[in-house]
Symmetry: C2
Subunit: 211 residues, 2 copies
């Protein structure tokens, strides 16, 4: 059984009561919107603070460091995206997962700034001490756990090809998503959805006799 629902996305505010969490949340939403709209251009704390309506020091008052701030923005994105798509966070069946996922992917294509932020923090995660590391580790584990369950179930019902380890399949899905985003940065017009679709097709159990 998976960890309790929303384990990752709901909690993670450490300074919780110490700093007005409502405002903090508000700030994060605003910052998220800014990066989504304007893109990530070596975004500095100062730039974000202005867009958010605070001074640099004012913004940093809510976060331990720049790095933490940016990770929290990413976490907020997940929160927002998955709020509208419970099907992806906790998919009932494969088709639900696929449909919900494709929607998110299509949405991501609209916000290259966030994709860049994601990739950049992914690189930062190479440092075990960087706040990004823990975030990505938890996020990845969480997604794979949920997805692999769904895939295993689909496999049991003959919907997914046999002989594929569901955990590996989940990892593959994760890899394709992340990799597709890297390609998107280079080719903004890339259709990521069709890539994901292709993987899903490959995962499907063949309905008819072999070619």
């Amino acid at each position: 059984m998976p960890g309790s629902r929303d384990s990752l996305w709901v909690m993670a505010r450490r300074g919780s009561y110490a700093k007005g969490i409502a405002k903090r949340e508000e700030i994060l939403r605003a910052a998220l919107a800014v990066v989504a709209r304007e893109g990530y251009h070596g975004a500095s704390v100062k730039e974000l603070s202005e867009a958010v309506g605070l001074s640099q020091a004012g913004l940093l008052h809510y976060f331990d460091s720049k790095d933490e701030l940016f990770v929290e923005i990413l976490r907020t994105r997940d929160e927002v995206d998955l709020a509208g798509h419970t099907d992806v966070a906790d998919p009932a069946d494969l088709d639900t997962l696929r449909a919900g996922y494709l929607e998110i992917v299509r949405h991501n294509a609209q916000v290259p700034g966030l994709v860049e932020l994601f990739t950049r923090l992914g690189a930062d995660a190479a440092d075990p001490a960087h706040p990004s590391r823990a975030f990505f580790a938890a996020r990845g584990a969480d997604l794979r756990e949920r997805w692999s369950e769904t895939i295993a179930a689909a496999q049991a019902s003959g919907q997914v090809r046999t002989g594929v380890d569901p955990v590996l399949a989940a990892r593959l899905l994760q890899a394709v998503s992340d990799g597709a985003q890297m390609q998107l940065l280079v080719e903004p017009d890339l259709d990521m959805a069709v890539l994901i679709e292709t993987l899903f097709e490959l995962l499907q159990a063949p309905a008819d006799a072999p070619a």
Copy 2:
């Protein structure tokens, strides 16, 4: 037919004769080795220059900027890696591609510093003006062109599942590779090869009747 062999990796030295290209090449090999061995820790020009046995200004004499330097390091890696694996750069058949590719992937797992450099420059490529953009665009197009040809041939000979667009399959392979590397940064012990293997299995035409 693909572009002439080695189109990408051999040329791309702009200041060619202007600056001693032999030395430049030597520098790049050394810098590559340093990042491979010591990892990428927010590597600065200064750090690299010392490891290479030059002053910061001395090193920069061979490159237009830090950004160009780092992209060239990455290009050098491709050069080196593919020199030992002609099979991947220009694969004769699917099994050759698979085998050669797996070797490279296994090698990459040994040099997380280079993987981080790759990912970081991948993010930089979001900026059309960054030297990284042209590199990634060309590299991606080149690899996909070669691979899709091999996959198409394998498909024609019944080795690969029908109904999959070879170009998409090639893109998928690229996405999985890049995505696996991002996962590697977070989980240094990840077995990337098994991920790639899984994709190849999915691509294979089923040999027996449907489950």
